[in-house]
Amino acid sequence: MKSFLTKRAYASLISLLFLVVAVFFLSRLTGDPTNLYLPVDASLEARENFRALHGLNDPLIVQFGRYLADLAMLDFGESIRRSRPALDVVLEAFEWTLILAAITMAIVTISAIVIGSLAAFRVGGLFDRTATFFSLIGASAPDFWIAIVAIVLFSVNLGWLPTSGTGTVWHWIMPIGVLFIRPFGLILQVVRGSMITALGSAYVKTARAKGVASRPIIFVHALRNAMLPVITVIGDQAAAILNGAVVVETIFGFPGVGKLMIDSILQRDFAVVLAAIMVTALAIFVMNLLIDLAYSVLDPRIRY
């Protein structure tokens, strides 16, 4: 167990390092930051001063070395646009995204598991066919379209919900609702498939011969066995939201890390971009670790 954690930590450290290299150099390929920050008619002197101030005159490799050294002390540099430590800016936005992801995935997980399990219990029944129909639509509907239609319907026409921001509970309904649809459809399909296998298994037959009632057969005997593939997909979908639900956050003006990344890329605020990538990468590493641990909690045959 301990050696497993150490091994995983080292592996993640290596991939994080690759990520730093790739992101740092790729972002510099997009052009000279002075052209973006300063007006077109800025004097050469002003440009020189700006370069000197932010260390942009040094060779790229020196800039990178400096960046790495700062990183080691958890210093991600200053946001050029905001004049604040980049990490603070990112963590602030990440908190919003984390809450959004947690609430959405909690609702998705519970509803997909309950509905998927019940659908699997009577395959081909009315409930199963209805659930499958809607989950397939959900899994294939484009979120930007749903988001816009939802704004038109609930904000513009009906006037029930605010279009953007985070002030009240009402502000959260549409972002969560739109983010819910696709993972719900996908996870429901996986739960249903996995549960059909589990419910057809020999140990379920034993449970029936013991006189166990239908509900515990579904939710105690079969579900725990069916959860392994489901957890994998839950992790995958949660990662997608943590990575920044870029489209949804942008449309609803939600101050999450996805919107922050897009804004910072457009503004060439490299410090923030890099910090945002590092934080989300770390979050996804932690989440994958939790998923691996969940495996071993659910299935005693899996030991690390």
């Binding site: 034993t206 011969a209 006189g211 515990p216």
Partner: protein, 539 residues
Amino acid sequence: MGDHLLEVQDLSVTFHTVRGPVHAVRDVSWHLDRGEVLAILGESGSGKSVSASAVMDLIDIPPGEISSGRILFEGRDLLTMSRDERRMINGKRIAMIFQDPLSHLNPVYSVGWQIEETMVIHGTSRSEARAETVRLLRKVGIPDPEGAAKKYPHQFSGGQRQRLMIAMALALRPDVLIADEPTTALDVTVQAQILALLEELQTETGMGLLIITHDLGVVAEMAHRVVVMNGGQIVETGSAAQVYHTPQHPYTQKLIAAAPGQGDMSLGVAEQEPLLRLTDVKKNYGDFAALKGISFDLLAGETLAVVGESGSGKSTMAKVLLRLEEASGGKAEYEGRDLFALSPAELFEMRRDIQMVFQDPTQSLNPGMSVYDLISEAWVIHREILSKDKWKARVAELLEQVGLQAEHMHRYPHQFSGGQRQRIAIARALALEPRIIVCDEAVSALDVSIQAQVIELLDSLRQELGLSYIFIAHDLPVVRDFADRVIVMQGGEIVEQGSVRQIFEAPRMRYTQELLAASLNPDPEVQAARRVKRLEMAQ
């Protein structure tokens, strides 16, 4: 009428499939009394398990349909009861154990929890159930019952798992226990122990025991009465001795005649230079020694049986011999060369000469390839054997040789029965014109009558083509009929080897004697005598 403990009357069950209705059982009637052991005997597809499934409410409706009949338990018809009423009977009054206990135990819950559950759902308190579980585990012979209750199914051996199933089934002292092929995948000595445990518990509690089996030996060992099923119908009923000695129905007569272990034993082949000589062959997996130095000779035209229980190293020996795994030491001399020291090119040549037939033809034949592709693939790999224009004729010839027809070559494995698939697997092995065929439990998964046919085929091929077989098996009666010489393995070592007569008539080693005593004979009288012998040995 009506005074039996459990009585099935005129039961018919139909399954509605896409290809139309399948009548799983038709007008089946049998009864079971308190203190009685009834066996339902039949081959696969005979419908022998269907009526038990109906008793336990395990038939999925749809696609299943109980089209007629009654199932009376203490005079009340189970089929007209509500789901909840039947649930109160399942597990408490009528319990069931199954073949393959590993897949029938829930892998993610501790065995203690699973045994407790039976009691808890029928009204026992959790703490009481916990104490009772420990008592039950001790009773069925699980060592360290307190610790065992916290373990999971995969941490037990096959025989222990069946003991766990029995503990779970007997938790509430049911009036009826249904055992569906309870010992089929188990080693002979473990089978004997499980059957003895069932018998002991049955005598002690006075419950009615229904055993569903394909094995005449199990019937001879356990049953008072027997019901013989074929094609969804009962063909014969009677006491175990009566059915064995004076079978009335042609099917029963055929079944009993096909039972292995009754023919003449081989006198062996003439003394000669060995075709294959293994010397001190070893195989280690890490610290574990799977083979601890095996030496034996195989003569041309000889069938050498390798018997032993699971974990004895008999399959490892086959893998090492075929170089599917590398030996850790020793020599295998074949035609003056050491098989273990061959270069890749020489090994490729040698592979032609030694072929293998596996236990499960369903898994060893690629379902996406036609029979023609499966057999001719050998010539795609070994081009020198046959030019392409002759492939079709040769496939047809091989199919006829193994008792199939030439037109079968365009079909796919799923279109054949288990016995036919094993014939295809044999034809595939023959395609390379081998001199030695290693049969790893090649007839174990087949029904008795099919088994006899495949053995007969192997025997005629041996005479026709001068083949030698290494016949790995756990089923001693089959070995007795088919082998010239026998090797008995235990824990990676050969404990005894000799001619089939010597091993079966005058075994020298205690382990061989135990194996023979544990093996079941279809004759109830022989079986009764063996039981006495077993008891003597135990003392």
